[in-house]
């Protein structure tokens, strides 16, 4: 018997571009509308590029266009705050270290217990580098930290410390013990029901009243605490999705083999549950990077706060618009970079599992 080999479906010839754009009245209207919108945006381009002042001083900036000369002059202040200029190589190393660690952690190749230890060590190194006071490095108090390293440190510290907390909360929420479950649900829902600003206010204003009076935690530390709790609650909900997606059989098989609870969680449940929720975890990480910008409201000197301080310099004609555009560009580079990188890794994992 002869079989006719299956043929692939005939390739669909793409519709000609003109027909897509101007096929009928509505399509033509949409095309014209979009082009009109782009034309309307042209004055913005004129302001940002053609009329812009790229070099020179404050006097040159009174002409009208965007004052990029100011960004050129103040970039250091916006990126590093009032960190002593001759010591700024230290925050530069910290930023590089954070980016390297984030790149490594997103890749499944490096996932093991050693990565957690490595993170602990890296964070310690970062804090020592920023603070100084040892190995001949000048001591820089946290009040002088500012700009991009603070933004990144807040994000990394809150996510790093929030993650173990989130694992406990997510496991607690799945627990069969009613008290454990109730406490976990309460903590998660309480934190998720509040705006982050509310938590930051509690940390900035209320926390000193709630702790013994001889405990002095500086503002940065209290802010990190608030962000950590916030991150933990949201990460816990993401992890819960992964735990629920995991078949019951995995835990039951482990119990049948006589594996103890924590060994089962560590070796069997968590690795599979986390693997399932990588995309939403990355999303939460990006959200936390964006959320660190709120600390400006309680007076922590992150990149946004440093930008506002720089724009307030009376020597320049109040270039707030340019400052925010610059800060926005840095945030965009970080957040979009992480999401592109994560998507690229995810494609790699998928290709490998299909091969």
């Amino acid at each position: 018997m002869d079989y006719i080999a299956a043929r692939p479906a005939p390739a669909k010839s793409p519709a000609p571009i003109l027909r897509i754009l101007f096929g009928d009245a509505v399509a033509a209207l949409i095309t014209v509308g979009v082009i009109g919108l782009i034309v309307l945006m042209l004055p913005v381009l004129e302001w940002a590029v053609f009329d812009a002042v790229w070099h020179g001083d404050a006097a040159a900036c009174r002409a009208g266009g965007a004052c990029w000369a100011y960004i050129h002059d103040k970039a250091r202040l916006i990126l590093f705050g009032i960190y002593p200029p001759d010591q700024q190589w230290r925050p530069v190393i910290v930023i590089g270290l954070i980016l390297a660690m984030v790149m490594a952690s997103l890749s499944p190749r490096f996932w093991n217990a050693r990565l957690a230890l490595l993170w602990g060590g890296a964070i310690l190194v970062m804090l020592v580098l920023m603070k100084g006071g040892v190995f001949g490095m000048a001591d820089v108090p946290t009040a002088k930290w500012g700009g991009l390293p603070v933004t990144l440190l807040l994000a990394v510290l809150s996510l790093g410390m929030g993650f173990p907390l989130a694992v406990l909360l997510a496991l607690g929420r799945q627990s069969k013990l009613p008290v454990v479950k109730a406490v976990s649900v309460c903590v998660i829902e309480l934190v998720r029901g509040l705006p982050l600003i509310g938590l930051l206010f509690v940390a900035a204003i209320l926390l000193p009243l709630l702790l013994p009076s001889d405990w002095t935690i500086d503002k940065l530390g209290r802010t990190v605490a608030a962000l950590t709790v916030f991150a933990a609650a949201y990460l816990a909900e993401v992890l819960r999705g992964g735990l629920q997606g995991l078949g019951k059989g995995q835990a039951e098989a482990a119990q049948a083999l006589g594996i103890s609870y924590w060994k089962m969680i560590w070796h069997i449940v968590l690795p599979q549950a986390i693997q399932k929720v990588i995309p939403p975890l990355t999303n939460t990480a990006i959200v936390m990077v964006k959320n660190t910008s709120l600390v400006m409201i309680v007076g922590v000197f992150d990149m946004l706060g440093a930008g506002r301080a720089a724009a307030g310099d009376p020597a320049w004609p109040a270039p707030f618009t340019e400052t925010y555009l610059f800060v926005a560009a840095v945030y965009f580079a970080i957040c979009f970079g992480i999401s592109i990188y994560a998507r690229w890794l995810e494609r790699g994992v998928k290709r490998k599992s299909h091969a």
Partner: protein, 359 residues
Amino acid sequence: MRLLRDARVRGGLIQIALLAAVAGVILWIAHNTSQNLSERGIRTGWDFLDRPARFPISESVLPYDPQDTFLWAYVVGLGNTLWISALAILGATILGLGIGLAGRSANPLLAGLGTGYVTVMRNLPLIVQLLFWYALATAAFPAPRAAWEPLPGVFLTQRGIFLPALPAAQLALAVALGLAAALLLRRWRGTAGVAVFAATLILTRATVEMPELRGFTFTGGIALSPEFAALMLGIILYTAAFVGEIIRGGIDAVARGQWEAGRALGLPDRATLRRIILPQALRVIIPPMTSQYLSTVKNTTLALAVGYPELGLVVNTVINQTGQAIESLLILLGVFLTISLSVSLLMNWYNARMAIVVR
């Protein structure tokens, strides 16, 4: 030792230990607080709520006077929070629907615009966007005398944005009649509503009130303060990107066969979308949309950054004025918890109902 191996005994012990730990922490915090309060001589209690607030609130939906009590100031702040939340949700839903559909459009220009918009907006912090719009509205706009007039009757100035307005009474009447017509005449719902709305306005001879430059500022028409305008613009543009993604996800979740079936019946794509795809997508869209609405309500607290007097700003002012930090923050947290938890409960009930309906 054998007792400890029994799962039930161990579970009980763990729970007792956890309860003891939670109780211990609460007691410890209470002890610290009372000690700190007495050491620093901070007054506590709710009697300050009856005292006159004596600080101004620059704009509000509810009437407010600095002679009013602190309690009323909080209510006014909450009123503003709910007002801007409602407007932001309404605006973001309409714009987001457009953006979500644009992202799925066959027109490459429109699809590119839609996805590009979502990418930019979602990767920038909301507070940076709010501050940007506020800087634009206060620093880049001209003084009232040299106001920009992009459309006739619309004036952009440093003092705010001034729009032409219809008289409130006639507008309310027209909206009511239009809604009634839309509800009664089911067949031509949209058309009938708009027609009755327009007819009412014409018959009552409603005239559009134009803003006019008098002295240093404009009078007449609708005046939007720079704070309000920047807040609304920022929060709507930001939220619309998320709403757009949710709607696009909902459309993608409807099986392809539904599109093909619509086409096989000879329906044009736009009719298929409106009559077949969107109603089915709605079921997928509603749960994430609710949590997006909730986070929009929570996001309104960022109005603090541009100085619009919503609940967060009022709480902040009261703390600075009275030092009653514990009470004020409890009010702030209580209000938001109430909103969040009641919406969550409603959603759980709704999901449970939907689950029965779904086969």
